[in-house]
Amino acid sequence: MIPYGQHRFPGKLFVVEGTDGSGKSTQLMLLYQYLKAEGYPVFFSEWNSSLLVKDTTRRAKKRRLFTPSTFSLLHATDFADRTERDIIPPLKAGAIVLADRYIYTAFARDVARGCDREWVRHIYRFAIKPTVAFFFRAPLDVAIDRIVSGRPELKYYEAGLDMDWTDDAEESFTIFQGKILEEYDRMVDEFGLTMIDATRSIEMQQREMRRIVMSHLKEKAASAG
């Protein structure tokens, strides 16, 4: 097992992170369109997308079977399958892999649920270190407004209702997202996350993102050109 930070692949891995409602998925989708139009081989990988694990996760969420540790471990299982199937092979092939949420999501959520910080980090030690990990930072009230106004009902685990902080979904979601944001903030230095101010216009954020991504693709563009 090659530990985090020590893999060497010809491909590049860009990931987006941030609280719910930070606009990160929109930004990644715009980047994806751009890179494809520029002719790069791009592969897209989403959080919670392993087909092997999907049925178990769905059933567990529906029946509320998770505890903080099984929630953490099943998501790690999902991520391992993605790593072995969707991330390593394209990176070996020299493609660009774009990931919507990565290990930092697990670190933020699991620790917010009371898991031990070191234990969770150790579990994900097999993960590939991203070329750039973007952290779209939106103040708590902005992110919460976007989510709460955008959907009819908050889901049980999404709102952190399993933690019994409060019975009120919106209040629970606010507490949960606050803890998550705190964890993200402490990871900025720890993992060298690239912070993007998510309160600015979508266009401005996208320009900044493209500029940073392209600076890492330059050699590739030169040799292809």
């Binding site: 178990t56 079977l65 505890t67 540790s69 099984t70 009371g114 234990w119 150790h122 019994d164």
Partner: protein, 268 residues
């Protein structure tokens, strides 16, 4: 009552408190007769008035079915497999084993974390990573390792049990041999070696399982009786992890916060 000790950091939300039950692990490679002995022990313990819970790998409500389905396809990656099993383990620990131990049951478990560790290490997974993953495990009251000397003997046992060679039990994912038999032998040899390595690390009580069932069963009963009746001297020295300095494991953490009581975690 025995103090709860974990190999590493306890699960979040688990109240660390003394428990009246006993956690007894039956370990061993494929085909040594673990399930036979668990059935016999269970009947015997119940006839003596002890309440028994038996559990084993992939039997969790949460992940058992998912693992079985994933194994069907033979496309389970080695890290994915370890994590899926760890999920299954954590679910059974929190929702079956710990509540039963708190309620005073004798918990008999068919394999524990040691088989998972052996299988992972044989597949080239970092030994320290897999141990840290299972740091959430409770240190058992006793670990009986049903040991058989040779992989060849295991092979004949597996055959005579009628099931034939299984893809995963034969380590077919590792491409060690021409066919199921060759692969089984090569794979089980490696597992036996890993188990031997863990004997002193975890304080296995070794039972020679090459002997007739009756003899093995008598040994097990004698040893289990000492544990459930509390007649033995404290096993501190026999359990490697009782000392904080144990290799590859962190010092057990105490006084974790509690979010839910055992009752809430029991599924009816």
């Amino acid at each position: 009552m025995k103090e709860m000790r974990f190999y590493g950091t306890a699960l979040p939300g688990v109240e660390i408190e003394p428990y009246p039950g006993k956690l007894i692990v039956i370990e061993g490679t494929d085909g040594v007769g673990r399930s036979t002995h668990i059935t016999l022990l269970r009947q015997w313990l119940e006839s003596r008035g002890h309440a028994v819970l038996d559990t084993g790998m992939t039997r969790s409500f949460l992940a058992g079915r998912g693992i079985k389905e994933a194994k069907q396809g033979h496309t389970l990656g080695r890290l994915t497999m370890q994590l899926f099993y760890a999920t299954d383990f954590a679910d059974r620990l929190e929702n079956e084993m710990l509540p039963a131990l708190r309620a005073g049951f004798v918990v008999l478990t068919d394999r524990y974390i040691y088989s998972a560790i052996a299988r992972a290490v044989v597949r080239g997974v970092d030994p320290q990573w897999i141990r840290s993953l299972y740091g959430i495990a409770l240190v058992p009251d006793a670990i009986f390792y049903l040991r058989i000397n040779s992989a060849e003997e295991l092979g004949t046992r597996v055959l005579s049990s009628g099931g034939g060679f299984d893809f995963w039990e034969s380590g077919m994912d590792l491409h060690l041999g021409e066919d199921f038999y060759d692969s089984f032998i090569a794979y089980q040899k490696r597992l036996l070696l890993e188990f031997d390595r863990m004997m002193s690390e975890y304080g296995f009580r070794v039972i020679d399982a090459s002997r007739p069932v009756r003899r093995v069963s008598a040994d097990l009963r004698r040893a289990v009786l000492r544990i459930v009746d509390g007649k033995s001297a404290p096993r501190e020295s026999n359990t490697a992890s009782a000392t904080p300095s144990v290799v590859a494991f962190e010092t057990p953490e105490r006084g974790g916060s509690s979010a839910s009581s055992a009752e809430e975690n029991v599924r009816h």
